[in-house]
């Protein structure tokens, strides 16, 4: 059984790291990073099977995770570092010249844990499908997971991939959507309504699940159900209802913190809400 308290403590440290990283360089994307922290923490600390001390591109015999909405990189970097992929101290180099922690994730700098560049949106689901099909060729039963922004679903390539995965029965794939209902220019309902999102995925032939993406117990429960549903002929998508900016009261419920860093005073206020659990970098 997952230790919910331990996962929550881990997530608190990740949120501190995110805020300090974007504050230090006065750039980056705190809103989506904070909102998806609980889910990706659960992935790396409880759900995925992997060996962070021996990272390989191929990931044979391991579960694989692709972050498609690469702009929430500080969250991913913090979780990778605290999961043993690279030194936590390297988080201090985020977005600085010569860093391996580029603004958007890349393989170009050889950062352990990253398998493809992401940032230009809509490409990660296709990549994940390719990797999932390779696992089938290799008779490897592990699962490929993805995370997408809800705004990212505006991209046409996503729907090409959604069509393909169902048509070709790519059933070792669990896609997740950070469904915070916000994108850069405003609420999704105003910018580009997704309509009945669950019905859309269902109509394409996917198994659709929904979860509370900022509720650790619900994440563990629903992701276990998603894993149970794998290998049965259909791809799986989990729509996770989240709050952009989750964990910091003044950042929640608005798109305004999508790509803005906190100032000194705001940082102090935010850190006051988040216990330092694993030690700041």
């Amino acid at each position: 059984m997952a230790d919910i308290n331990k996962l929550q403590d881990f997530a608190s440290q990740v949120r501190r790291d995110i805020l300090r990283m974007v504050h230090a360089v006065n750039s980056g994307h705190p809103g989506g990073s904070l909102g998806s922290t609980d889910f990706v923490t659960a992935l790396y600390q409880d759900i995925l099977s992997y060996d962070s001390s021996n990272f390989t591109m191929e990931g044979k015999g391991e579960d694989i995770f692709y972050l498609s909405n690469g702009h929430i990189s500080p969250m991913w970097y913090s979780i990778l570092a605290h999961s043993g992929f690279f030194a936590v101290s390297e988080l201090a180099t985020f977005r600085k010249i010569g860093t391996r922690l580029q603004g958007h994730p890349t393989t170009a700098e050889g950062l352990e844990g990253i398998r493809i560049a992401s940032g230009s949106l809509g490409q990660g689901l296709s990549v994940a499908i390719g990797h999932a099909q390779a696992k089938k060729l290799d008779n490897d039963n592990h699962i490929v997971y993805t995370l997408h922004g809800d705004g990212e679903l505006d991209e046409g390539q996503i729907w090409e991939a959604v069509l393909y995965a169902a048509a070709k029965k790519v059933d070792n794939l669990i896609a997740t959507v950070d469904y915070n209902k916000q994108q850069i220019d405003g609420p999704i309902e105003e910018v580009m309504s997704l309509g009945d999102l669950a019905a859309k995925w269902k109509a394409f032939g996917w198994i659709v699940m929904e979860m509370k993406g900022n509720d650790m117990a619900d994440i563990i429960k629903v992701m276990a159900q998603a894993k149970e549903a794998a290998h049965q002929g259909k791809p799986i998508v989990v729509l996770m209802h989240t709050e952009m900016g989750a964990g910091v009261d003044f950042m929640m419920g608005t798109h305004k913190w999508h790509g803005v860093a906190p100032n000194d005073e705001q940082l102090a206020n935010a850190l006051g809400q988040l216990p330092e659990t694993l030690g700041d970098y």
């Binding site: 493809i116 296709s126 990549v127 390719g130 090409e160 393909y164």
Partner: protein, 317 residues
């Protein structure tokens, strides 16, 4: 002028199909994706021989490029197949981020490049593809000249680790290179040694350059004819050595002048050894419908155009 002959005409895309089948036999990591053009790309033999390693992507090229990147990440060697326009312009950002920037071992194999696609017209006749692909860091760009060279190139890129754009065409053209040739990526091939003018040609224009060499020889002009099958990385030494001897250059390609082979050679010469250059290429315009040979003539990509360019550039020395 060294004598070149041919006994048959075959399409370069069939050379790709034959090479792909052999690549699949040589290496069980080879997988192939096609965007609903199996017949046009000659991928049917691979599909029949290795159905479990063949992936029909449907008419969804962006997804196909992404899937190939994922397959490569997992250690497979994906070859993607569709028309040149849909392999490049349609998916440029996917190729850029998921393949070139991520440095994935994907082979983007592109047929029906250039004007010789013919009757389908300008929507399908890309003459900008070399430009787009050569401008991506990490990307190797290859444009073989006949069936045998295309087959050899397909096998050569199997053994190269990294992103490759392999460009070939639709029509049947003379087969004049040896069946058992060794294809070295980035290594130009000298078809004829000469002292008066260097003619650098790629793809379907190589045979026309040989024909032009014969016509020039009849006029007493000794042309050096070099096949640049790899546009990037360019064989700089071969170009500079040849121009040091001839002091003038003609380039010939089935592509726009902007961003093509001639552009690469002009840049190399400007930086190292400036020399007069004439470019046989299409000048900043789209193509149109028509029989391939008539189009080549109309757009200035014929044997006679190479001859005229050579005569002109020699006068500029």
């Amino acid at each position: 002028m060294k004598k070149y002959t041919y006994t048959e005409q075959k399409d370069t895309r069939s050379g790709f199909g034959a090479g792909l089948l052999e690549a699949g036999k040589k290496n069980s990591n080879v997988v192939a994706f096609c965007a609903d053009l199996i017949g046009s790309l000659k991928m049917g033999d691979f599909k029949n021989e290795f159905p479990e390693r063949f992936f029909q992507a449907g008419i969804a090229e962006a997804n196909m490029i992404g899937m190939a990147a994922g397959m490569a990440t997992a250690g497979k060697i994906p070859f993607t197949g569709t028309f040149a326009n849909f392999s490049t312009a349609r998916v440029l950002d996917q190729v850029r981020q998921s393949i070139a920037y991520s440095n994935k071992n994907v082979k983007i194999c592109a047929s029906h490049a250039g004007l010789t696609l013919g009757e389908d017209g300008a929507t399908h006749q890309t003459m900008e593809d070399i430009s787009m692909m050569k401008n991506l860091p990490n990307m190797v760009v290859i444009n073989p000249c006949d069936y045998n060279q295309t087959k050899a190139a397909t096998l050569a890129i199997l053994d190269y680790e990294g992103p490759v754009y392999l460009r070939f065409g639709r029509p049947k053209v003379p087969v004049f290179t040896p069946e058992d040739q060794k294809f070295e990526i980035g290594k130009a091939i000298i078809f004829n040694e000469g002292a008066d003018v260097s003619i650098f040609a790629t793809g379907h224009m190589v045979w026309k350059a040989i024909e032009a060499g014969e016509l020039l020889a009849a006029k007493g002009i000794d042309a050096e004819i070099i096949n640049i099958h790899t546009i990037k990385p360019l064989d700089q030494k071969a170009v500079l050595d040849s121009v040091a001897k001839t002091n003038c250059v003609v380039t010939a390609e089935e592509h726009l002048r902007n961003g093509g082979l001639g552009d690469s050679i002009a840049q190399l010469l400007a930086l190292n050894a400036p020399a007069p250059i004439e470019m046989v290429a299409v000048d900043d315009k789209f193509g149109e419908s028509g029989p391939p040979e008539e189009l080549m003539s109309k757009y200035g990509l014929d044997t006679v155009d190479i001859v005229e360019a050579a005569l002109k550039v020699i006068k500029r020395k």
